[in-house]
């Protein structure tokens, strides 16, 4: 068991694409670290470079204190679970499990013992003499896990191992994996594109975004799931984590009669809760009369009677998932200059769609008018130029 560290890692592919730039990441002893992000953010590349399957252009990778940047994959003592499992099709399950141990020249008796133990842990005893083609998807996934576990490596690397399973099996395997990790306590680096999976499984989660210039950074934030959710470091993380996504609207802090007021772009007048804005004063001090981006999670809204809340809206559409209800409304966008930088993807269009979470019982009908209150204490503010959260 060891720690895994990336220091200033960059990778540029042969065709010029920049996959990784300036990645600094430390995975502690026994930690379950999840790499999450949209396609092209470099998470799989980072994982593969930890395995030695990709060569990095610059930087350093350390495993258990040892520099392994140029070490061959066969000598790194890591085990990898591939997305498509990569089980050796011409070998039985037993042979698949034993292969890695044979390469380490372990005595036959020891190999047999470990294979039996791992098979027991994963419920593969009766499948040992079958070939992968004769196994179901879930069984193959377990064999892939078994192949990694049986090696007792310094570190596990997992590349979206659950994404090929059907939804129910996926949820079940998620908890099994977590339990297994708690029991074995092996340092794990786990890649997924599913932020729900990331949030439920990781001790810490590293959110990555694609990069295009050498001075960019893939790593947006690395923190325990709760912190990611409640204190996102920037627009990217705030918008990526949480489903339905956080709503972003442009706003200005203005000096009003009773103190600072919050004027949301597209609304005719500032929010009526001047007092609450004053309470946020310390961190918004420097932003007086400047544009900010306001991030409101759907659950920060609460229904009020029309005329009594912070704003009145026309309900465009409602959705009900059983446990939750969602209300969609639109904010008109006044024409103005488009902000550049990290905020670009979240720049509102002609009409900005906003989602509010509401008790299903209280869900109004589409086309009616509703009143909403915003819990400003929990709302997030972001610098429109850099996307960084305003603390």
């Amino acid at each position: 068991m060891a720690s895994l560290g990336f220091k200033d890692v960059s990778k540029r592919f042969h065709d010029g694409t920049l996959a990784l730039a300036n990645v600094d990441l430390e995975v502690a002893h026994g930690e379950f670290m999840v790499l999450v992000g949209p396609s092209g953010c470099g998470k799989t590349t980072l994982l593969r470079s930890a395995a030695g399957l990709e060569e990095i252009t610059s930087g350093e990778i350390r495993l258990g204190g040892r520099v392994v940047t140029d070490v061959d994959p066969s000598e790194r003592d890591v085990a990898m679970v591939f997305q498509n499992y990569a089980l050796y099709p011409h070998m039985t399950v037993r042979q698949n499990l034993a292969f890695g141990l044979e390469q380490r020249r372990l005595p036959g008796a020891e190999i047999a013992k470990r294979v039996a133990a791992t098979a027991g842990t994963l419920g593969l005893e009766r499948l040992l003499d079958r070939k992968p083609a004769a196994l179901s998807g879930g069984q193959r996934q377990r064999v892939a896990m078994g192949r990694a576990i049986v090696r007792e490596p310094a570190c596990f690397l997992m590349d979206e191992p659950l994404s090929n399973l059907d939804a129910n099996l996926r949820v079940q395997m998620r908890s099994e994996l977590k339990l297994l990790n708690a029991r074995l306590g092996v340092t794990t680096l786990y890649v997924t594109h599913d932020q729900v999976e990331a949030m439920t499984m990781g001790d810490r989660v590293a959110v990555l975004s694609p990069v295009s210039r050498p001075e960019d950074h893939n790593l947006q934030q690395c923190a325990p799931p709760a912190e990611l959710y409640n204190s996102p470091a920037n627009l990217f993380v705030a918008g990526f984590i949480g489903s339905p996504a956080m709503n972003f609207v442009r706003a200005r802090i203005e000096r009003g009669g009773n103190g600072p007021e919050l004027l949301i772009s597209g609304l005719p007048s500032p929010l009526r809760a001047g007092g609450r804005v004053a309470a946020l004063k310390p961190r918004l001090e420097r932003w007086l009369n400047r544009p900010v981006i306001l991030g409101i999670r759907p659950e920060f809204f609460s229904l009020a009677a029309p005329g009594e809340g912070d704003l009145d809206v026309d309900v465009v559409m409602v959705e009900m998932t059983g446990a939750d209800g969602y209300l969609h409304f639109e904010l008109p966008i006044p024409p103005g200059p488009v902000e550049t930088g990290l905020a670009e993807e979240t720049v509102p269009h002609r009409h900005k769609q906003v989602t509010a979470r509401v008790e299903p019982k209280l869900l109004p009908r589409a086309g009616t008018r509703a009143g909403l209150t915003i819990d400003l204490a929990r709302a997030h503010f972001f610098d429109p130029d850099t996307g960084v959260a305003i603390r």
Partner: protein, 310 residues
């Protein structure tokens, strides 16, 4: 332990270590043996031929070259009527053969596309001519063309088609077409099978969509299927062109270049000069003229057709 986003200066760049350099060389090491072998067996003789082409050298007059004559051999080759006739014959054979074989191959491929019982058997049988050694195809057609009792003259006579008195292979007018026909017989099935496989790879939904759009079978062929099999089509054309250009076995067995030089191909003329008349110097010059010609032709073809290839 959360990180902020604000940038940091990029650190040092790693100089390629020894392990990394070794890893990069590995693939080239794998390729090396085959390249070395091929170079030894082809490039080396070709350079030997280059050197020999500047000498007067005839094995019938002695085992060693007899004197440096600069471009003399080249001049002789390029002014020789026989050589020039070979160039013409070869080009005529190659171009017409390629066009006809690909055309008929495509027709047969379209026929094979109908999924009817027995088609797979038909396909397996159809490839048989291509499996035969070209020289044996020569034997076959020499038998079939025989003026005294061959099947083909008999059939043609029955159909009322006039045959030259000296036989199909004995008349300057019909000899080359007869060779062409033999080659077509052997290789049209090849074109058919390969184009059939390519046609299969056209997604059926695309064709269905076209049919719903009201396109006729001819339109579907012209504007959907053919463009989608363009890569294979180019490849087949190139393969046939290359092989037709090198026609040798058939000429050797059927006509030996005659009557006159009406069926002399470049391959055969080369053989005649170098391995029958043993005029090594002249043959070497001819070799290089041919090599340059072929490479220029194929080079042009590749550049124009395979620009976007893998």
């Amino acid at each position: 332990m959360s990180n902020n986003v604000i940038g940091r200066a990029p650190a040092f760049s790693l100089a390629p270590s020894r392990a990394r350099r070794r890893r990069r060389l590995f693939p080239y090491l794998l390729i090396a043996p085959s390249v070395v072998l091929l170079v030894a067996v082809t490039i080396f003789p070709l350079f030997f031929a280059l050197k020999s082409s500047f000498y007067f050298w005839n094995l019938q007059m002695g085992p060693k070259p007899l004197g440096f004559i600069g471009f003399g051999n080249y001049r002789m080759a390029l002014t020789s009527a026989v050589f020039m006739a070979s160039v013409v014959n070869t080009l005529v054979l190659t171009v017409s053969g390629t066009v006809l074989e690909v055309f008929f191959g495509l027709m047969i491929a379209l026929l094979l596309c109908h999924a009817l019982p027995g088609m797979s058997v038909a396909r397996a049988l159809l490839i048989m001519p291509t499996t035969i050694a070209p020289i044996v195809v020569g034997f076959l057609f020499r038998y079939m063309y025989d003026p005294t009792g061959g099947l083909i003259p008999w059939l043609l006579a029955k159909a009322g088609v006039p045959i030259p008195r000296t036989g199909l292979l004995g008349s300057g007018l019909t000899a080359l077409p007869s060779i062409l026909f033999a080659d077509m017989w052997q290789w049209t099935p090849f074109c058919a099978i390969v184009l059939y496989a390519a046609l299969l790879s056209v997604p059926p939904h695309v064709i269905e969509a076209a049919r719903l759009d009201g396109a006729s079978a001819w339109t579907i062929l012209r504007r959907i299927r053919l463009p989608l099999i363009r890569k294979t089509l180019s490849f087949v054309v190139m393969l046939r062109f290359m092989q037709l250009f090198n026609t040798f076995d058939l000429v050797l067995v059927l006509t030996r270049g005659g009557p006159g030089s009406s069926t002399r191909t470049l391959g055969y003329t080369l053989y005649q000069q170098g391995l029958v008349d043993f005029n090594i110097g002249l043959a070497s010059a001819m070799t290089w003229i041919i090599v340059i010609m072929v490479n220029a032709l194929i080079g042009l073809y590749v550049v124009f057709v395979f620009r976007d290839w893998e």
